[in-house]
């Protein structure tokens, strides 16, 4: 007992996925990837582990503290296990696919591993599925990525999908315009992250009224944009505001069922984003379902989005139970084949002497194949 209990224990944040969840995840990933493929996104598959220096280069720098490392006995160099797939796809686009015409549309799905879980995502290993659109600076590119990932969630049956748009460069632009640097900037950033208006007032000095107005502007996209447009922003920030307005307009036209909110001071998880970014939420699900935005990919403008499979699955109603049919031993193979073609899952008996009813129950089959066709089975 004790020994088997010890064997069952997994390290923190890691778990076994059992039936039917494992199959469900695979089928949801498959269906997401097919949707991306139908929109012209070609799938790539980077390795699980690669040299640390290339994994953490550029866009990957933000994942450094989340990356497991091992030494490669062959090259004697440090390798990192991916904590995020975007930097890998970015590397592929900049190197092996560098000569491909732009814009380049790529998709990917795979598992990532992180040193530490977070409050809402204690999992250290989870699945990602995502897209990258590389080589375009257009607002239409931002809108394409946003609309496609949100639509993918809605198509899967996630109820109450909403997207929260953010401008991670806006607050730094305001800080620069008011010469807010050093420790004050750090403390002010922390206060903005918690929307702590009182603390912003205390620390913000001349910038306080503007920063407080930015906090207050967060909310439904229409109202937030109107409030943002009324503010006197530094020129760099004003250009970003224009892009935000355009993307909201495009997304609202393309996908009216998507709830759009705007949060001008949002900064979580946008470490490598250099422009318009977004987070996908579902009503009554605490964790983020996905995240995306603009980044500087190997010297060219790029945007992309990643869905987090653990929270996507949590937001979905769950798999429909399969129709399992018990086929007693000795049944001709072609018969079972015909039922499978109709969508049945067939479970074959192995022992011709066994009672088919007992076996069907044991194997969790609600139906069994009798001499006169399919018979219902009462599961005890």
């Amino acid at each position: 007992m004790t020994e088997s209990a010890n064997r069952a224990l997994l390290p923190a944040g890691l778990r076994d996925m059992l039936p039917p969840d494992a199959e469900f995840e695979a089928s949801v990933v498959h269906s997401l990837m097919s949707l991306f493929a139908r929109h012209g996104y070609d799938r790539v598959k980077p390795p699980l582990i690669e040299f640390e220096e290339s994994l953490l280069d550029g866009a990957g720098g933000g994942t450094s503290s989340q990356t497991f490392r091992v030494m490669d006995p062959m090259s004697q160099k440090m390798m990192g296990l991916r904590a995020d797939m975007t930097p890998q796809v970015d590397r592929i686009a900049a190197t092996r696919l560098g000569a491909q015409p732009r814009p380049l549309r790529l998709s990917y799905a795979g598992q990532v591993l992180r040193v530490k879980g977070s409050q809402l995502r204690p999992e250290r290993q989870f699945g990602q599925a995502g897209i990258e659109l590389i080589g375009s600076d257009a607002a239409t590119a931002d809108a394409e990525v946003l609309v496609m990932t949100a639509e993918a969630l809605i198509d899967q049956g996630v109820p109450g999908v909403s997207a929260d748009l953010a401008l991670p460069t806006l607050v730094p632009a305001v800080f620069a315009a008011y010469s807010i640097v050093g420790e004050t900037a750090e403390r002010l950033r922390a206060a903005l992250d918690h929307k702590d208006s009182a603390m912003v007032a205390a620390l913000g000095g001349a910038a306080a009224p503007l920063l407080q107005a930015l906090i207050a502007a967060a909310g439904p996209a229409g109202r937030a944009l109107a409030e943002l447009r009324a503010l006197d922003l530094p020129p760099a920030a004003a250009a970003e505001r224009e892009r935000l307005g355009r993307v909201v307009e495009l997304a609202a036209a393309d996908l009216p069922s998507l709830t759009l909110t705007v949060d001008p001071v949002e900064n979580r998880g946008f470490e490598y984003h250099t422009g318009l970014s977004f987070t996908l939420f579902a009503r009554n699900i605490g964790a983020e379902l996905g995240r995306g935005g603009r980044y500087q990919g190997g010297g060219e403008p790029a945007t992309g989005a990643t869905l987090f499979m653990d929270s996507v699955l949590a937001a979905l109603p769950g798999p429909k139970p399969a129709k399992r049919l018990f086929v007693p031993a000795g049944t001709p193979r072609a018969w079972a084949q015909a039922f499978r073609a109709q969508g049945w899952v067939t479970v074959s008996g192995l022992d011709p002497a066994a009672d088919p009813l007992v076996e069907a129950r044991r194997q969790g089959c609600r139906h069994r194949l009798g001499s006169d066709g399919i018979v219902d089975v009462e599961l005890g």
Partner: protein, 219 residues
């Protein structure tokens, strides 16, 4: 937006509750009579709004309930918020109640002879190990924290530690135990806190309540 979705408000037991309730009522949320009955064993109370419930929990647990989305709104001091530093909590409104400060205190005789510049390590009894560790780490001092849940003032005199970090309002308790407040870590007041995902996915409703509380405290 479906009106059936529950909204849960977490309030801290004890001292802060008496100051918070007038604001909750002024914001238009009136709990059922059992809320004010000291003999009631209920933990969750209905209100005059069919979809709003109030829960009454310990002050540290208010932050935890809200951080994980089990409650959507809450009232918590920034001492608690600093200790947990939950990324999923927004604190948009200073309610201006429960004012006190989070301070370091040490025995009177030690305070007279101590030179903080020479410290490399201090041993501190506190309910706030994270805040304490961070505070001293920023000064290059390693703080070994002994977690206590109350009666911190006893610890130095019994040799458990040399200093404490605790909430101080009048300073009378410190004085009665021969301790002197030597440094203020933070000024503390209670904040209205909101779960991040709730604010993102129910923006109109949540913003509405934040505004109602803002009006209630006269801001």
């Amino acid at each position: 937006m479906s009106p059936q979705d529950k909204l849960v408000i977490a309030l801290p037991k004890g001292r802060i509750l008496d100051e918070a309730m007038p604001l909750v009522r002024a914001a238009g949320i009136l709990p059922e009579p059992a809320f004010d009955d000291p003999k009631s064993r209920l933990l969750r109370f209905a209100t005059n709004h069919p979809h709003i419930d109030i829960i009454r929990v310990r002050s540290f647990d208010v932050a935890t309930f809200v951080a994980f989305g089990a409650a959507h709104l809450g009232v918590a001091g920034n001492d608690v918020l600093m200790e947990f530093d939950y990324p999923e909590i927004y604190a948009p409104l200073d309610l201006g109640i429960g004012a006190c400060r989070l301070s370091v205190a040490e025995p009177d005789d030690l305070a007279a002879s101590d030179d903080p510049r020479r410290w490399s390590h201090v041993r501190i009894a506190t309910k706030y190990p994270e805040v304490t560790r961070r505070h001293f780490a920023a000064r290059g001092v390693q703080a070994e924290c002994v977690k206590l849940n109350g009666a911190m003032e006893l610890a130095p005199s019994l040799g458990l530690c040399t200093r404490i970090v605790d909430l101080v309002s009048s300073g009378a308790t410190l004085k009665a135990n021969g301790l002197k407040e030597v440094e203020v870590l933070a000024e503390v007041t209670s904040r209205l806190i909101v779960n991040r995902a709730a604010l993102k996915t129910r923006p109109d409703e949540m913003t509405g309540w934040i505004e109602a509380f803002r009006k209630a405290c006269g801001g």
